[in-house]
Symmetry: C2
Subunit: 306 residues, 2 copies
Amino acid sequence: MQNFADKLIEAIKEKGNPCIIGLDPRMELIPQAFFSESEDKTKNELIEDSIFEWAECIIDKIKDLVPAVKFQSAFYEQYGVPGMWAMKRAISYAKSAGLLVVVDAKRNDIGSTAEAYANAFIGRTKIIDTEDPIFDADCVTVSPFLGRDSLIPFVDACKKYGKGIFILVKTSNPGSGDFQDIKNEQGEPLYTVLAKIVAELGNDLVGTHGYSSVGAVVGATHPEEAQILRTMMPKAFFLVPGYGAQGGTASDTLPCFNADHMGALVHSARNITFTHADQNISKNEYGYFVRENVEKMVADVTAVLK
Amino acid sequence: MQNFADKLIEAIKEKGNPCIIGLDPRMELIPQAFFSESEDKTKNELIEDSIFEWAECIIDKIKDLVPAVKFQSAFYEQYGVPGMWAMKRAISYAKSAGLLVVVDAKRNDIGSTAEAYANAFIGRTKIIDTEDPIFDADCVTVSPFLGRDSLIPFVDACKKYGKGIFILVKTSNPGSGDFQDIKNEQGEPLYTVLAKIVAELGNDLVGTHGYSSVGAVVGATHPEEAQILRTMMPKAFFLVPGYGAQGGTASDTLPCFNADHMGALVHSARNITFTHADQNISKNEYGYFVRENVEKMVADVTAVLK
């Protein structure tokens, strides 16, 4: 079974860039055309199909451009179970289109409950007489708040199923410092305490290209902290939110890369998918809008890596 | 609109105890009888119906005994979308049976994403031309790792919809100390830094009985820390995991209560729902098993409160 980090590096090399596009539905911003052929559907079918078809359209238009897509589970969960069906179908569609899939669920809990979340997103669940994959993403984001023991079931699932995780270390929001920057009695901020654990947990999951399937979430909005974290976790892949809508520039993401210009995935969502002004454009016009935004992002990010 | 903490206190007074029962499905432990009438169902229908009917059976048998039930979302998510349907149906059924419903989802994210999670569990989502409740629990558990700003959308939803949250402060697992006990330069552990924020955020949501709808998760496995936290958050309700299967006793939960013997909800799940030895018992026999376990827990917890 291939290591997730190896798959990721090969996908980045094939596509020539480390961009990951967030497919995060907001129904009020999805063009009308995705709701059009739906007069005989129930409301739940309309929700599920319109969100899935929106994601499908984007995947079709950008699958040759980027190595991976990210699904923010909150934006699907807010549409309830039909939203979750749409996410499941879109994950499967993205994978069949050759894209790697990260589910940004920031899940965690303790003991057997953490194991249940790992089963749901990157593992398998025993259902009657079979073990079935559930959402079956390639990778999921995980919160470390509950402690090192809560991370183990996810690391185990990575080993067993060739999957990956990104552990929250330093998030991109203004309030990220409230707890993540708290310094312990040795003067180390929590995010560096976390970095050590991420590096240690990742040791068993280093692939043939030298990177581990246990990665870290490090916001582009904190380039100084990113520099420190890059040194502390040389083998970890960074998932880098904060580029674009949150104010991070391509240059701000540079400290998240190693000297080999590898080791980071730069993420953007609403600046890619929701920049159209006219809700009445066709699906095809919308798709090209999104493709153009991805092309601009790819050019911007790869320019600073040269 | 009634304040969540007021509803909770009234329910506790009516039932005469502060016990909350966790309905966390593990298919391999659910008696065969819940899978029996299902030969013409698809696998997804079988998953959804068997889990829902299991929850329904328990709710019917215990609804007169306790004020609230808790759904651990991980155990539903591990069964994928059919599991989520079962959870949604069970939440609705529990509410119609007069029970308050906590969803233990430990969700959070930043900005508009935190808002999407709040919409999903305790708020409403704009869907085409209506604003719809989604999972519509009375209360959800929230992770504070991303910072104070990430908690605001949940507090706002509590105000708008008469709902509640429990913010993770000191969890019950062995590794909880890894990050939650880190002491800042003033010598304050992270859990007390969090306690101050919980108290502050809860100020606007204090009901007529003197308690706030912004509560805290504090494990029964840490009675000394609970004592400190009780003093720091006098108006916060505590959701107290760790009783029973995790080794906490009824006496260990005492520091989580105020002098009025109010202010804490004591939780148990697998020690209530999965103590039967025989998988071939009838639904009715199983229900009485669960009821007996709840009666024992109620007697145990109320004894120390006298």
